[in-house]
Symmetry: none
Subunit: 219 residues, 4 copies
Amino acid sequence: MSIEFSRTSVSRSPRKRKGQGGERREEILAEALRLIGERGVQGVSTRQIAEAVGISQPSLYAYFPSRDAIVEELHDRAFVLLVQALDQFRPTPGKPLEQAVEYLRVYVDFGLQNPDAYRVAFMIEGAAKPKPPVADPSAKPAMQAFDRLREAVRTLHLNGGAYKADPEALAQCLWAGLHGLVSLLIARPNFPWAEREALIRTHLILLARGVLNDDQAAA
Amino acid sequence: MSIEFSRTSVSRSPRKRKGQGGERREEILAEALRLIGERGVQGVSTRQIAEAVGISQPSLYAYFPSRDAIVEELHDRAFVLLVQALDQFRPTPGKPLEQAVEYLRVYVDFGLQNPDAYRVAFMIEGAAKPKPPVADPSAKPAMQAFDRLREAVRTLHLNGGAYKADPEALAQCLWAGLHGLVSLLIARPNFPWAEREALIRTHLILLARGVLNDDQAAA
Amino acid sequence: MSIEFSRTSVSRSPRKRKGQGGERREEILAEALRLIGERGVQGVSTRQIAEAVGISQPSLYAYFPSRDAIVEELHDRAFVLLVQALDQFRPTPGKPLEQAVEYLRVYVDFGLQNPDAYRVAFMIEGAAKPKPPVADPSAKPAMQAFDRLREAVRTLHLNGGAYKADPEALAQCLWAGLHGLVSLLIARPNFPWAEREALIRTHLILLARGVLNDDQAAA
Amino acid sequence: MSIEFSRTSVSRSPRKRKGQGGERREEILAEALRLIGERGVQGVSTRQIAEAVGISQPSLYAYFPSRDAIVEELHDRAFVLLVQALDQFRPTPGKPLEQAVEYLRVYVDFGLQNPDAYRVAFMIEGAAKPKPPVADPSAKPAMQAFDRLREAVRTLHLNGGAYKADPEALAQCLWAGLHGLVSLLIARPNFPWAEREALIRTHLILLARGVLNDDQAAA
DNA sequence: TATGAATGAGTCTTCATTCAT
DNA sequence: GATGAATGAAGACTCATTCAT
């Protein structure tokens, strides 16, 4: 699963061999993401992107107003992809906990299979710009992604029992737990990790059970 | 709790008003850390550090052979500090789980009280340099920090019961869980987090219980 | 005779007032050569070159990948020019020795009329980089220049008599003799040299006769 | 034959182990010369010299007013050494030409055995400073060295016959011939030189015969 | 005699961006 | 759409030198 987007939706007529509006744009995004994966967000320059795409440096500015705009778009798209992946999940019948583990696994797999996208989405140590908080936060793809986790928590409890802890907090714990594993696996590939499959499964069960049985936790 | 070390407390002779050997060095490290917290590792230049300290750019090179050496020292120091914080923990009598929560809380508090240090230690999206793996990895402070978590898992089980899951994997899950929360709280201060105290407590209980009762998890 | 090449004469379209593709490039090379003549290879910086050309420092890098690339191009061009000069020589009828003197005079005149080029070609005290020896050395312009001297020695003997000494060694002596005079005249303009014309003529006759009559030398 | 100087003449009392006035000075000169041989005149910094000697950078300025002063002293000393070498020559009985060849050989051997000194003396592409011509040029060691060659020419002709060419010009030709070979052998060690012994001998015979028989040359 | 500290000027090079074409 | 040319600002780093100690 690579991070190429709905290039199908834009246009079809193969008039020009190259360029063709949206395609170039996609190409730029794809190369930028690839390079970011290789060298980190700050390590990628417009020069490098342009060269990788095969266009001149200023030509980038025909598609994006600035370098940051490229990164930002990749950022947003990554969340869209994550949401898509989560939404495509269809649980296999079984115990709620197993279903939850399967669901969380989608998150983990997304991160591990799209490390570049995940990096761009969650791991850029940006200038921590005090960006004016968005008017409608839920509109931002980032929030949509978190919504899924919130729903997951609700679902778990609908099927499993009442909870005591704040469900919002529980969802945030879930997110933190997932993010911790994914980000460390991506960022520290040389760490002497335990066998990956067992590690992930152990982690997910730990998290899911924690959410499911939070009544005991708060006790 | 700032990232200054005892070595500053040693120098005695107040010969020079400025500089005084190690002081300037500490000052450089402190300002560098502060700036990194503000702008990210890659966003800080030697120029900025020098200006912040109040010395000329070349003067930095009297104390450090390169910019990376500064970052590396901050990196190592951060781990040392973390280990120190963990080692200073003295449990209050009580249930093992509560003690564990208290212990993990040290990790979280360290990260939240030293966000810059934590950033430098765990959140730099380095070029992922394939640095030749160190001869004795356990010597690196980074590993020493993880050792504490490994011991924590062992302790939990000594007091609480046998486990089924790989204790190494469990320790890694613990780390991932802690890191996820700390790194997100640091990196996304604008996120609509739940009330912090409750959030942290919920998270730590979730993790500690998960480790303590992993026998059920693997069941 | 300046060190500009025919490639400048090709570009035709006077689209841009400045730059115009190759022209800027030639300008850079010309100014660099001039400055090197003034201050030595190591004494010239990209700043100075850029200023002399009237462009910004970074603009140099649109034409050359590095400072060394400029020097290298000047180096190679100097040899090309020397070879061209030697190849354009057409002997006036006369005694072989006189013809040889005329020919060697071309070498000397080239050096004295293009002191900067000669400096770059033969007198740069490089880091003596152990540059990996080129695969086909004869391809390098430097070798082509020496080939001309080798041929000169052969020609002298074809017309003049058999020799005993190694003709390769003789050619090298010739080169050394020529280079000694040219390089000293260039490098030590303040030395109380004898009248230049007489000096050169005496030197060239000495060398040519030495090559022509080497049979006696070895005797 | 290395380029250490009359350190004997300065002081003898071995009071201080190190330093002792002149010794440090000699050490500095020696290391500077060595480094220049390795990296070229412009490639050597005061930092490197100081480090090689084992003193601090500013300490150099206790012995020399500037970096250039070090180079200049090395320059002058090299000439002194060359003159010494030439003056120590004692001809073995034999033909004048053979004696001349032996004498010129001293020059060549000096250069090849002291390439660093020779470099500093004759091959630095200095800023070609328009140094105000010295009041009494013959006082400068450089001139003294050339005097020896002038005498050599005179001696050759005293023993061998009258000459037509200007003896001063002849001496300069001799110098140029010698310098050309030595400087090229030093500067281009990778050139495919003929067997060195034969090359040198051929060259010297060529030069000596040229001077001896210049009457024919001018004919 | 020696030096630790410091620096202004300078090194080469890369950056994101603009503009006329 | 696209680009060749250009640039101000900044990047890390080295230089020879000074000065108070």
